[in-house]
């Protein structure tokens, strides 16, 4: 696999919500095989950015290329072809409540392949093993914990072996141990299958563990304020706000004395 190959290219993206601009003229690239993290304070447009990249929102201006296809201009069969290359894990998992975990993972296979039923079962079960959910095939989403739901959602997103996985706040609402387990799952998938990850999060420990590169969105400038590896931004970034974000400091950088 070629190194430093660009897999997603965002060019001059502008998003609006109602009449309000969320961000303007944002451009960046994601390279194949990296874990790319989108950071930002509340209201900076992280989730909006993600929803544009997976084609749920239509941008006000700008383009998003997934490999060589422009997702913003695609429709119908073309759009479906692009969507087959990506998988998405939503914040709360978004598993279909009326189906078992196995049926959830099977669904994309049923819709997009002509495999015989037992092959589909076998693939779906192996995807669940991939995220350490062996033995939970017949459970309903309501019967498992939040962390397991997220892992099952990753298994479903991986059903068709996509090249890119988008994760929306994977650590939100998880305890530190479960969150760390999820991080190691992400790294394993990257190493073994070469999946590219685009992650929206603001969980600092998780960022240091998984992120190769981060971009930071800021609502003051309505764009990217910083980009690079997280350690570099923490130690060397010129922007005071970015450094404070990584060091978890308050505005006056004062600690209330006891």
């Amino acid at each position: 696999m070629e190194a430093n190959q660009v897999i997603i290219r965002v060019e001059g993206l502008e998003a609006r919500y109602g009449g309000n601009m969320v961000f303007d003229n944002v451009s960046f690239q994601v390279e194949r095989g990296e874990v790319f993290v989108i950071l930002g304070g509340s209201g900076s447009g992280k989730s909006t950015m993600l929803k544009h990249m997976i084609g749920l929102y239509t941008p006000f201006a700008g383009r998003i290329w997934i490999q060589d296809d422009d997702i913003t201009a695609s429709e119908g069969a073309e759009r479906r072809a692009i969507l087959r290359k990506i998988g998405v894990m939503y914040q709360m998992g978004a598993l279909f409540g009326s189906m078992t975990l196995l049926e959830n993972v099977r669904l994309p296979l049923e819709e997009f392949t002509n495999l015989p039923p037992d092959a589909m079962d076998w693939i779906a079960a192996s995807k669940l093993r991939l995220v350490q959910l062996e033995g939970f095939e017949q459970y309903m989403p309501a019967e498992i914990s939040g962390g397991m739901k997220k892992r099952a959602a990753i298994a479903r997103a991986m059903a068709l072996d996509p090249q890119i996985l988008f994760l929306d706040e994977p650590s939100a609402g998880l305890d530190p141990i479960t969150s760390a387990e999820l991080d190691s799952t992400i790294l394993k998938l990257r190493e073994t299958l070469g999946v590219t990850f685009v992650v929206v999060t603001h969980e600092l420990p998780s960022i240091y563990t998984i992120a190769d590169r981060v971009i930071m969105l800021d609502k003051r400038t309505k764009g990217i304020v910083a980009s690079g590896p997280p350690e570099e931004l923490r130690d060397h970034c010129e922007d005071d706000w970015v450094r404070r974000f990584f060091l978890r400091e308050t505005a006056e950088s004062e600690v209330i004395s006891p």
Binding site: I54, R79, L83, V88, A94, L107
Partner: protein, 337 residues
């Protein structure tokens, strides 16, 4: 301690040296006292204040200088009118797009039946159909009983009790059977469709479907419409039958033999009446399912939103059924059916 109106211009000193702990309410009281004193032109001081209490007072003290005002929430009448008009137009566009997409996907389902998720259709039809049988039978029986009984009383004066059978047969088969079955289905299943799909929307499951390349309309709406179209005519027939049985009970209590009742009903009702009713039921089925699904898909974010869509699915469902029933009435009259 009590804050007296107007305050005292004399200096006020509060000795807090014996104060072991001060909670939020206590701190608010101290601040209120100081403000009263200062606005009355008096002085205020605290003696022996502990460090923790001082920090607490600092935290809750109103910030000095101008507080940034949030943007005005009120808008002019013209702005509101314009916004509502745009919203209405957007809603209408959404409705047209939805009807178009449903039509296309239904047509696709007919052309490629293998793409249809038959398992879903069966499950939904079972829940919306078989589950509704008890209430349909109950309402039908009561409807027949009441109709027959209420019309029998005035008709007795003209010795026309025998025509109660005609009245029941015609009104049930042409109007009330399909209408009541559709209204009950709206309340039972249209609302359920809206709530199910609305919850899926709130849980981002609809987004998940979309990014998996599965159109929500094909996946969720088409099976529900097909299920509803299948069950509504059956439920309407059941409603007719239950209503006629209810009427028969009244008829028998009026000392008519059952055979007279059956003969009268058969003589009064033509096949066209029955088929017209069934056709209406079919259309009502599409309306009920489509409105329920549309309202579900239109759900905004938050838990209250699901309740709103459920309510609005029932209201718009029933209104649409009434309007379309009226249109059918006119068409049938003009066609002399």
């Amino acid at each position: 301690m009590r804050i007296t109106a107007g305050g005292h211009p004399e200096p006020l000193v509060v000795d807090t040296s014996d104060l072991a702990f001060c909670d939020g309410a206590g701190a608010s009281l101290l601040l209120a006292l100081r403000q009263q004193q200062e606005s009355a032109g008096g002085s205020f001081s605290l003696r022996g204040l502990r460090e923790e209490t001082r920090q607490l007072l600092d935290l809750i003290e109103p910030s000095e200088g101008e507080v940034e005002e949030p943007p005005a929430a009120r808008e002019s009448f013209i702005t509101g009118l314009g916004r509502d008009t745009l919203q209405l137009l957007a809603d209408m566009r959404q409705l047209v797009a939805f009807v178009g997409e449903v039509t296309v996907q239904l047509w696709n389902a007919i052309r490629h039946p293998r793409q249809l998720r038959f398992k879903d259709v069966v499950v939904i039809a079972e829940r919306a159909g078989i589950g509704a049988v008890p209430i349909i039978v109950l309402v039908g029986l009561l409807l027949g009983l009441i109709l027959a009984f209420q019309s029998a009383i005035p008709m007795e004066r003209f010795g026309a009790q025998i025509f109660v059978a005609d009245l029941l047969g015609l009104s049930l088969l042409r109007e009330l059977g399909p209408l009541m079955a559709a209204v009950l289905l709206t309340a039972r299943s249209g609302s359920a469709f809206a709530a199910e799909i609305g919850t899926m929307k709130v849980n981002e499951e609809i987004d998940a479907l979309t990014t998996m390349g599965l159109e929500p309309v094909r996946f969720l709406v088409v099976p529900r419409i097909i299920a509803a179209v299948t069950v509504v005519p059956v439920l309407a027939m059941l409603m007719n039958l239950a209503g006629l049985i209810g009427g028969a009970v009244v008829f028998l209590s009026l000392d008519f033999p059952l055979v007279t009742y059956v003969n009268r009903v058969v003589a009064a009702v033509s096949l066209a009446d029955f088929l017209g009713g069934m056709f209406k039921a079919l259309i009502f089925g599409i309306i009920v399912a489509a409105v329920g699904c549309l309202r579900g898909l239109q759900t905004k974010t938050g838990a209250g939103a699901v309740g709103e869509s459920t309510t609005s699915s029932v209201v718009s469902g029933i209104v649409l059924i009434a309007v379309i029933d009226g249109i059918f009435g006119v068409i049938f009259y003009m066609l002399r059916i």
